[in-house]
Assembly symmetry: C2
DNA sequence: TTGTATGCGTTATCAT
DNA sequence: ATGATAACGCATACAA
């Protein structure tokens, strides 16, 4: 049952049916009612692919909201992750006639600015339930990127940090390393929390005591005090699993200051799979997150929500890939 | 850059370009090379929506593989979950000119039977890594439904049992119930394991001791011994959170045999949101899984994989919805 | 082996 | 307010 058949049944043109479906103004009351009834009677379901193919003539407008904090990093080494994510978004946008506009997450958005915006992508761990509620209230299609908030049911695209971290720990165990420390960023960022949970779960399952330290990777604070404390309280670990590559590199630099050799004395594993980690010396063993895919998938999902019907909110987790390199045995 | 432009650049017809893209036989070596080079040079990306719209003339063939165990339940009360999932699949299939054929998971599939099969949906908790590997080896597009296997990176659609269970436990805590027992099915089924993890996590976080019992919900064994043991060892709990609705109803029946009143003495919470649970007396408090959506989403994802390119494997988790009803305070 | 032409279901432009 | 029709990008039946 397509709109042509509906048009025939309702004795109008397909253009009119299309107008009714898209809540166009220029339809008389009686015609609209007649068409609506026909649509209901024949249980019409629009073909989303045809819709989008046809919609290609129009442009979709999407806001990409990024916190000031991440915006600042975007062109530095530490910002590689979100840069790659942005690449994926842009790529996907180009392939879909989608205009994207980057907006500071902290800026006030009156409904006026959002008038002709079709959807919003909220990037990174700074996104809060408040942000989500704001957009949900005005019925704006929404996807969170690299952030998950259990309390609000909203679409999101994240990496599978739990299983990635589990894999890393299991790998280290298979290399007969049992003293494994986790150094992580703030756990209010879902990504860090997820990896933390994976680490703890495997450690406990094996009957080992998890040992973790928190490090502020945002300001890249001096790590010496942390490592100093770890070494004196806990001794030299067999391995350190870090929340992400940038923390892992910082760990390595700091350990080397203590004349500890990587990977001979301590294996270090990061998370993200950044280029800078790959080119680091020693080259970083890590869990590669498909960053571009994260971005492009998020935009695709957003377009799904904008153009399709009956979309039920889901969390999409991307698998990570273990990359054995020089910083670990 | 679409195939028309490519055709112009390569000085062939769009039909030829299409043939190359679809690995059609009838293209001469030189022409194929020429076209492939052009495609690469201009970084051609096919428009998946146009592809599918055009493909509508053809039918997509999909195998739905179900284990004997689930197949048997399918028309009974306990089989409501997968029946609803199947409804979703069928619905989605109808809307997409997709022919589905239900196949026993245990049956031997020679490559001959799979000759004109475009993709496979593996249903339920009986799916193993072996099944996945078999299909991956022959490059068959694949989606797992209601099952997740961390060791093999394969697309799957599951419910978010972890957060659902967490929510249930937190709800009970908010009602000042602290003696909360979990009765679960076999934990090798990811769904049960996930809910179990959510239960344990919240209990431990609050500083309470998790207390759980395993029950074979498949054969619906007598639950009296289990409850008897629980009552004597642990006493009467304030609440019981069950792995699914069918176990929850069994729990209620058994507790009532012990002259324990629901929900006055014990609150019982299920999982799934089945009709039979809703109509049960007392009506079951539960976490509703969008079963039809699970099915339809799985098929849609499979078609994405069949028709799109560069699809990176993901796990899709559907949010659950807490339904406060009569079996709990 | 290669090209031409039609159709997939919808939107949007231009008439009326 | 409504209708006719050309796109959207691709696959394919049919011709050559």
């Amino acid at each position: 049952m397509n709109i042509r058949e509906i048009a025939k049944k309702a004795d109008v043109s397909i253009a009119t049916v299309s107008r009714v479906l898209n809540n166009s103004e220029n339809v008389s009351f009686v015609t609209r009612e007649k068409v609506l009834e026909t649509l209901k009677r024949y249980e019409f379901k629009m073909d989303p692919w045809a819709k989008r193919l046809a919609s290609k003539r129009t442009v979709t407008k999407v806001f990409i909201m990024i916190s000031k904090r991440i915006m600042k990093q975007l062109n530095s080494k530490t910002g590689e992750f979100y840069s790659k994510v942005m690449e994926g978004i842009k790529n996907s946008a180009k392939a879909n006639r989608t205009m994207i506009e980057t907006v500071e997450m902290e800026s006030n958005l009156d409904e006026d600015k959002l008038k002709n915006v079709n959807g919003v992508l909220l990037i990174g761990g700074d996104t809060t339930a408040e942000h989500v509620r704001f957009f949900k209230k005005i019925g704006m299609p929404l996807v969170l990127v690299d952030q998950y908030i259990p309390t609000v049911k909203v679409d999101c695209v994240v990496s599978n940090g739990y299983d990635g971290a589990s894999y890393a720990v299991k790998y280290l165990l298979s290399q007969h390393i049992r003293k494994i420390v986790h150094i992580h960023g703030f756990l209010n960022h879902f990504g860090f929390k997820d990896r933390y949970s994976g680490y703890v779960a495997v450690m406990e399952q094996i009957g080992l005591l998890p040992k973790s330290y928190e490090y502020n990777d945002d300001i890249m604070e001096d790590m010496k005090p942390l490592v100093d404390k770890m070494l004196s309280v806990y001794g030299v670990p067999g391995a350190i699993f870090a929340s992400n590559d940038s923390i892992a590199m910082k760990v390595i630099e700091t350990l080397e200051d203590f004349h500890i050799k990587i990977p001979e004395d301590v294996s270090v594993i990061g998370f993200d799979g950044t280029e800078v980690g790959k080119n680091f010396i020693p080259s970083l063993t890590t869990l590669k997150v498909p960053m571009r895919e994260m971005g492009s998938l998020a935009l695709k999902r957003l377009l799904d929500i904008v153009y399709d019907q009956d979309v039920y909110p889901v969390r999409i987790s991307l698998f990570t890939e273990f990359m054995k390199r020089g910083s670990s045995i």
